[in-house]
């Protein structure tokens, strides 16, 4: 029994998918983006721009490896700096993808079908960007495998009481499971592309990755079980990954990091920023490729509501941090919060409150939620706000710790920014490539939705 049979929506936002779509036309529409080969000018502009930034990325990585992390602004007491800020930011962005594909699947939220493929791809690329930072931050990134448990001539092993080792397991598991989840979802669509392709090269390429999928009922049966189980596994996984990221901070004893609320607060922040990024990317793409009747206003409205809800949870986190800094009665905790609000980085704290706390209040208005341009601008503000949040957490907690004689100010250098901007380019580049060659909307799931709608309409009549 599906959700629709009992509950009728009471608004007027229209259906989740345009009423005129048939099984065939939705497949044609989605696959034609990749197979047709005609792309709007902005596609080439973004490709070129992103390509330049990827160049910058490779250049700054090369230079970093040659010269060492002294290129960056980090020094004691602020040893983490932009590298960790960007790492957490990217990982957080990735989380919305898993949330959309896994959690909303478990909750039988049909609206996810139009955006889950894209969001999962976003997850993968974001995790790839995130993974670069801790590796490059190691100082000798070519020895990264030392953190893995493997028998070696030094007879040394990692020690598992460190959250940084948990991170290695969490991030690599997350990357691998996200990849498998994404690919599993892609296989039937790749088969569909294979059958639709007219050029030999396309047929062979899609054919190889479709692995000979033939839509057998027995296969679908196991496929659905596997997909459900993967969704069930990914849901706690995504919560655990950002919780473990938060434990990187929270298991220390540093005021501003050591707070028990960190795990759920970080998870909420991750989902918040992830939905921000989904909106930032989806709104222009649906416009460019004319997908407004597959990614509808109803989708935007729902995503905006989730942004509002998770944003408010994050604000709850800020409030608890501030309140318990006072309530602890501990001088260091109180100083940390005072310094965070009024110290040298106070401006960034209030900016983050503005971006994540105040600006999202606009989402209470339906007009804002359903106007693509306003939502798009707001989603960029949220992305900036969530970056600032990590900046404030990392830097203000470190730069004035227990010992005033070691206080210092952290200023990122050109190379800090170059690497960050470089990863944004890398991310966009991957997105652009993905849009070019793969079905950005899950074709078979949208067909399932059409089937379901037909059923519902028939039983209604």
């Amino acid at each position: 029994m599906s959700e629709h049979e009992n509950i009728k929506p009471v608004d007027d936002l229209g259906p989740l998918i345009g009423p005129d779509y048939t099984y065939s036309s939705v497949g044609d529409k989605v696959s034609s983006i990749a197979l047709g080969g005609r792309h709007p000018l902005p596609w080439f502009v973004v490709l070129g721009f992103a390509g330049l930034l990827v160049g910058l990325l490779f250049f700054s990585i090369t230079f970093l490896i040659a010269k060492g992390v002294g290129l960056w602004g980090i020094n004691i007491p602020v040893g983490w700096g932009l590298a960790i800020i960007n790492f957490v930011w990217w990982i957080g962005i990735g989380h919305a993808g898993t949330l959309i594909s896994a959690i909303l699947f478990l909750f039988k939220q049909d609206w996810r079908t139009s955006i889950n493929r894209f969001a999962e791809a976003m997850t993968l690329f974001a995790v790839a960007c995130a993974g670069m930072f801790p590796l490059l931050h190691l100082g000798r990134p070519w020895l990264f495998y030392w953190i893995m448990p493997y028998p070696n001539t030094m007879k040394m092993w990692p020690q598992f009481r460190s959250p940084l080792v948990w991170d290695v397991f969490a991030i690599s598991t997350y990357a691998l499971v996200s990849l498998m989840f994404w690919y599993t979802g892609l296989v039937p669509d790749l088969a569909s592309m294979r059958d639709k392709a007219t050029r030999k090269v396309q047929k062979i390429a899609y054919g190889i990755f479709a692995m000979g999928w033939r839509g057998s009922a027995r296969h679908w049966h196991r496929y659905e079980i596997a997909y459900l189980l993967l969704a069930g596994l990914s849901t706690p996984l995504v919560l655990s990954v950002h919780s473990i990221v938060s434990l990187d901070f929270a298991v220390s004893v540093l005021p501003g990091w050591h707070a028990t609320i960190f795990p759920p607060y970080f998870v909420a922040g991750a989902i918040f920023s992830g939905f921000g990024m989904v909106c930032t990317l989806m709104i222009p793409i649906r416009k460019l490729y004319g997908l407004e009747d597959i990614i509808t206003t109803r989708h935007l409205n729902t995503m905006a509501k989730i942004m509002l809800a998770t944003g408010l949870m994050v604000v709850y986190g800020y409030s608890m941090e501030a309140f318990f800094a006072f309530y602890s009665g501990n001088g260091f905790e109180r100083f940390m919060m005072h310094n965070r609000m009024t110290g040298p980085y106070g401006f960034f704290y209030w900016m983050l409150i503005f971006c994540n706390g105040l600006s999202i209040q606009l989402l209470w208005f339906r007009k804002v939620r359903t106007t693509p341009l306003m939502l798009w601008i707001l989603s960029i503000v949220v992305n900036i706000g969530m970056w600032l949040e990590r900046f404030v957490i990392v830097v203000t907690s470190l730069h004035r710790d227990f010992l005033p004689s070691s206080w210092d100010i952290y200023v990122p250098t050109f190379w800090d920014w170059a690497l960050y901007v470089g990863t944004i380019g890398f991310f966009l580049f991957n997105i652009v490539i993905f849009v070019r060659w793969l079905p950005i909307i899950s074709i078979f799931e949208v067909k399932e939705l059409i089937h379901k709608n037909k059923h519902a309409r028939r039983s209604h009549e």
Partner: protein
């Protein structure tokens, strides 16, 4: 079909439909007629189809459970062996067997094990990758991933009799009934 195709072996007979509902009705009839080596091909998962075909629920779930148990216990053993037996180091006075600190990695290993078993188990049980399958030689089969719904009775089925099965399938109100020949049977 051309003469060269005729030299290939018979894979079976397929019937083509344009809606999942019609397919399910046909599948039930075929099941009730006693055929077992049957398969349906659809562009998206159709609920109630495997039941209509008489396919048992897959035991993939148990495989995934096994993967999770193996992963989780492996993760625990890995950490225990390293931090307690092989390389015990005093870190901030914490016990060698710091179970709270082992929980995150145990959890990640559980999920990883289960997910690997789910994906590889699913494709493995499905016999994929398999680049070619006789059904691909069916006429118009490229629309099975688009908007057509096929059901096939394989020639290997004990109840299969070319003439009789063909007559039976013609009575299913399909859009088309075709015989599939392939050199891949």
């Amino acid at each position: 079909m051309s003469e060269t195709v005729r030299e290939k072996k018979l894979y079976g007979l397929t019937a083509e439909f344009d809606s999942p509902e019609a397919l399910i009705v046909a599948a039930e009839k075929i099941r009730d007629a006693g055929y077992r080596d049957i398969d349906a091909f659809t562009p998206f998962p159709v609920h109630g189809l495997t039941e209509a075909m008489g396919v048992k629920r897959s035991w993939l779930g148990w495989l995934v459970l096994l993967g999770g148990v193996l992963g989780g216990s492996g993760g625990l053993y890995l950490q225990y062996w390293i931090n307690v037996i092989e390389f015990p180091v005093n870190i901030g006075g914490r016990p060698f067997f710091s179970w709270p600190a082992f929980v995150p990695v145990i959890f990640e290993c559980t999920v990883l094990g289960a997910a690997l078993f789910a994906v590889f188990g699913m494709f493995g049980l499905n016999g994929l990758p398999r680049p070619h399958h006789p059904i691909f030689d069916a006429e118009g089969f490229e629309r099975a991933s688009d908007d057509r719904f096929f059901i096939a009775i394989e020639a290997g089925d004990p109840c299969f009799d070319f003439e009789e099965t063909r007559r039976f399938m013609n009575g299913l109100q399909a859009m088309a009934v075709t015989e599939v020949y392939s050199d891949d049977v």
